[in-house]
Assembly symmetry: C2
Homo-oligomer: 190 residues x 2
């Protein structure tokens, strides 16, 4: 029993090692630099070992995405609970969301841009993702009025996501960013 459990523990540790290495590589050089060869070299195992843990590169990216969701949820919660009132709560959460995307572009990309094999808009979605969405919803709630909270939160999220991705893709000028964010918040706080 003990031997088997030790093996399982070592396997889990190695899996965690792969995920961390993938994340670090991606955050340092972007996902196009994360190849199975480089990743294998980094964890000091051969390529096929990766495939004994994950079905493919996509699955590794999905695992990193889940990690990112947990981190995002923590930061959103901190921003929300630190705010003294509802108005500054939604503003703080919005700013925290944008700051997260700005600090972790590769992580954000795999979470919300790239196609990864993860269930999203279903009850089977990763708890970390649901937690992050829940933080957004709590920040939006006081400003929802009679509107459906879920749909309104989704809309607010989409707006933040659009701002973030268009700006990073060079489609929006960076200099208007704060102004745009302010306009968005004004429209969502009545």
């Amino acid at each position: 029993m003990s031997i088997q459990s030790r093996r399982e523990r070592e396997r889990a540790e190695r899996e965690k090692l792969i995920i961390t290495a993938a994340r670090e590589l991606a955050e340092a050089e972007g996902w196009e630099a994360v190849t199975t060869r480089r990743l294998a070299e980094r964890v000091e195992y051969s390529q096929p070992v990766l495939y004994s843990h994950f079905k493919g590169k996509d699955a590794i990216m999905a695992a990193v995405a889940v990690e990112g969701c947990a981190d995002l949820a923590v930061e959103l919660r901190a921003a929300r609970t630190a705010a003294p009132d509802a108005r500054r709560a939604i503003a703080g959460v919005g700013a925290a969301y944008v700051a997260f995307a700005d600090r972790h572009p590769a992580l954000y990309d795999v979470m919300f841009n790239q196609a990864v094999p993860l269930p999203f808009a279903t009850p089977q979605a990763p708890p970390a993702l649901q937690a992050a969405f829940g933080e957004l919803a709590e920040a939006v709630r006081p400003h929802a009025g009679d509107d459906d909270l879920g749909a309104l939160t989704e809309t607010f999220w989409a707006a933040l996501h659009g701002l973030v991705t268009l700006m990073r893709g060079g489609r929006l000028p960076r200099e208007h960013h704060e102004l745009r964010l302010g306009l968005l918040l004004a429209r969502f706080t009545g």
Copy 2:
């Protein structure tokens, strides 16, 4: 003179052929199916011919993106001018934008999602892109009040973009789509 001009014309026709083939292939099977080999086969030339017209695959995608911008501008203009009042104008333009993205996912992707070597948020941006943005701005203008029209248009655009991309990535449930769009419009028409 005539011989040279004929050659130039034929070159231009072939370039147009490449762009059209790339667009058709992408719209039919997605950009991951657009390889230089398949594209070359489709236009019935060898691979290196592509590189005598375009610097690389990215440049071909950029050319397709510019075409897409022109198409989008036309559709947005039609939606805006067909509306009887300002409220229905912005609603119509928003719906037209979303419909375009829905009908041409691959085209939309290369226009606003993927990294392509195109100047965007500058005066050097393709006229077609500026035209499309201009249509959005005209639809937003009556609802801008004292807010900066440019920044507000950018914000509205970002919100639409977020709705579109999150939904296609499976991050938002499709069934709430109309509801979300309605909530967004309500927030932008005061």
